[in-house]
């Protein structure tokens, strides 16, 4: 099974060395292969031991890997017409795929791992390969940002590892070498004697992850990177890489819940509110699509984290799925939206002729409205359930009023974001001048894939599946 999972990545890696024009198309279609094993994974009986105790498939990571693979396919589809919108060399294409293969391998390891160490290794692999993907854009800004990403990412990743070792140190006295095993750790979390050491470790891990996801105070670096790199890379960043991080956060916080729920909740709550506070005002001032979407991505990641620690597992996963489909879709459409006259928000949705054009602007407006959780977007439901979970926590705690105030502030901050998005949407649709713009079939196709996935997400089998994940 593991071979099957890794096989497409290896093929892509191999094919990327062929210097032929056909390779470009071939690569895109080969990348469809990544979907097959992930579908298989979902149908397997859980938990399924993929590779001893190190890689174990359960409902949670099968779901996340599946979502990621759909995103991967969508991104590679849109990649085919990248050269129509921006200047890009042929070599860059192949290199992109080469690193995409490495990225995918790293991702499989980190998502499916049942071991903190393996998780980290996969994550590091994926991170390092994306560093190079940024560089496919030959601009000074991209070069600078690639370095930036290299260093900040390295710090963040190191912090995660540091935290992992601290956690390991706290659990080793009871579990020995197996203290890196997530499942075992979860089962024996109550027995950990030095809870303070564990919490230090957890805090460090979380800080690392939060920095990596662009939470407070590092809110703009991801946005800048996504601005500087090509849009499919940005889509990969927000769609897939963050899913690898968030699953780690899911697992670590699950253990931390067992140790001391109050500390965990307070920590994450304060942190995410701080993040959303800053992000909402940054969004309020954002002037181009990339930054806007990337900042809103941070907002959604913060919400997912918050929902998860509030016990709204279902809400967090639904929100995660919706975010993972919506954000890449928007990033990919940015490529088309910005192809004439960069950074222009006013009138960006105007000037699309013909059937393709109509479908395109229609889909993009749907996505834009879905991201601010208007019904029937999955985000509408996930936010309701997520906040419901938070209220539940608030009710069971002692300081109900302050919690309510905090939640209210949170909701008001989200309204600020809402306001900005409505403004952006209206400006795209109703302001500015009309230019003729072109949309290509493959991009449209990838957007449709995302759209369909979103619809599938709110069908009852999927909802039930997500409810089943605890």
């Amino acid at each position: 099974m593991l071979e099957l999972l890794l096989f497409p990545a290896f093929i892509i890696f191999g094919l990327s060395f062929i210097k032929s024009d056909k390779a470009k198309r071939l690569l895109a279609f080969v990348s469809f292969l990544i979907l097959i094993p992930t579908v298989k994974l979902i149908s397997l009986p859980k938990p399924f031991h993929l590779f001893k105790d190190y890689l174990v498939v359960d409902d949670l990571n099968a779901y996340i890997l599946f979502v990621s693979s759909i995103v991967g396919i969508g991104v590679t589809l849109a990649l085919m017409t990248l050269d129509k919108h921006v200047k890009v060399s042929k070599n860059a294409y192949r290199r992109f795929y080469r690193f995409f293969a490495i990225f995918w391998i790293g991702l499989i390891f980190s998502i499916l791992s049942n071991n903190m160490g393996i998780y980290w290794i996969g994550l590091e692999l994926a991170t390092l390969s994306t560093v190079y993907m940024i560089k496919t854009n030959h601009s000074t800004a991209a070069y600078k940002e690639a370095w930036n990403y290299m260093i900040v990412g390295a710090i963040a990743i190191s912090l995660i590892l540091f935290g992992i070792i601290l956690i390991y140190a706290s659990a080793k006295p009871i579990l020995g070498e197996d203290a890196m095993n997530f499942n075992l750790l979860l089962a024996h979390a109550k027995e950990i004697k030095s809870s303070f050491l564990f919490e230090l470790g957890f805090a460090t891990v979380s800080v690392g992850m939060f920095v990596k996801m662009g939470f407070f105070p590092m809110n703009l670096w991801l946005a800048n990177i996504e601005r500087a790199s090509f849009y499919p890379v940005a889509a990969l960043f927000s769609g897939i890489l963050e899913s690898a991080i968030i699953i780690g956060f899911f697992r670590f916080s699950k253990i931390a819940m067992e140790i001391n729920y109050d500390h965990l909740f307070t920590f994450v709550f304060i942190y995410t509110i701080l993040t959303i506070f800053i992000v909402s005002f940054l969004i309020y001032r954002a002037k181009d699509f990339m930054r806007l979407f990337s900042l809103s991505g941070i907002e959604h990641m913060a919400l997912i984290a918050l929902f998860w620690v509030s016990g709204g597992t279902f809400a967090a996963l639904l929100h995660f799925g919706a975010h993972a489909f919506l954000k890449p879709a928007l990033f990919l459409s940015t490529g088309v939206l910005e192809s004439n006259g960069k950074y222009k928000i006013a009138g960006a949705l105007k000037g699309y002729k013909g059937k393709k054009g109509t479908i395109f602007w229609f889909l993009v407006s749907l996505f834009l409205l879905a991201i601010i959780s208007l019904p029937p977007s999955p985000m509408f439901f996930s936010e309701i359930y997520g906040f419901g979970a938070m209220i539940k926590v608030a009710k069971s705690g002692d300081n109900l009023l302050s919690m309510m105030a905090a939640i209210l502030i949170l909701l008001i901050l989200l309204s600020v974001i809402f306001y900005k998005f409505v403004e952006v949407y209206q400006s795209m649709k109703y302001e500015g001048k009309v230019y003729e713009k072109k949309v290509y079939v493959t991009e449209l196709f990838s957007l449709i894939i995302f759209g369909i996935s979103l619809i599938i997400l709110i069908t009852s089998p999927v909802m039930n599946y997500l409810r089943g994940i605890s």
């Binding site: 290794i121 260093i151 390295a154 006295p173 070498e177």
Partner: protein, 198 residues
Amino acid sequence: MVDFFIGLFLASLITALFTTRLYRLLVWYSFNSLTLGVLALLIGIKIDDNAMLITGIATIVIKAIAIPYFLKSFSQKFHFIRQIQPNIKIQYAIILIPAILVFTFYLAKPITHMIANNSNYVAISISSLFLSLLLMMEHKNVAPKITGFLSMENSLFLLGITATNGMPMLVELGIFFDLLMAIVVINLLFRREEMKNA
């Protein structure tokens, strides 16, 4: 003996903070890695763990010798600026470094129930983490930043070795693999730039 090397580790890191030359920085990094390797070997012998011995040797080979060498060759190939001036004032740094140490010891005080039964190791690791961050933030150039990142990696290992008596073998090898991968990527990053300039 272990304590002595830990002290040496910390000392070399602190010295690195005050260095103004790139090569000397690399030397200090190399020395820092060397102490780490020796520590691994010492502890490995003490608790009779082969994995630790392998880690120690790999550390010495990769971190103390190979990486500084690569970095030096990069710097020659890509013409780094070798004059590196810390942009945090020395007056501040003098206060800051002891403050960090005090803080981390304060932080680690409540830690109990450890394998090595000595929370000071954790404290020193955390403080070396902070010091590495300090190293990164006091330089603007890329090369010292990379060195800072590598020292961070060292401080992780220090934690792994002293506080937990070594991580599982697979994980450690994976980490080494990633480190090498990082070096490759750094190399590629530099090379692209050079190609573009040429």
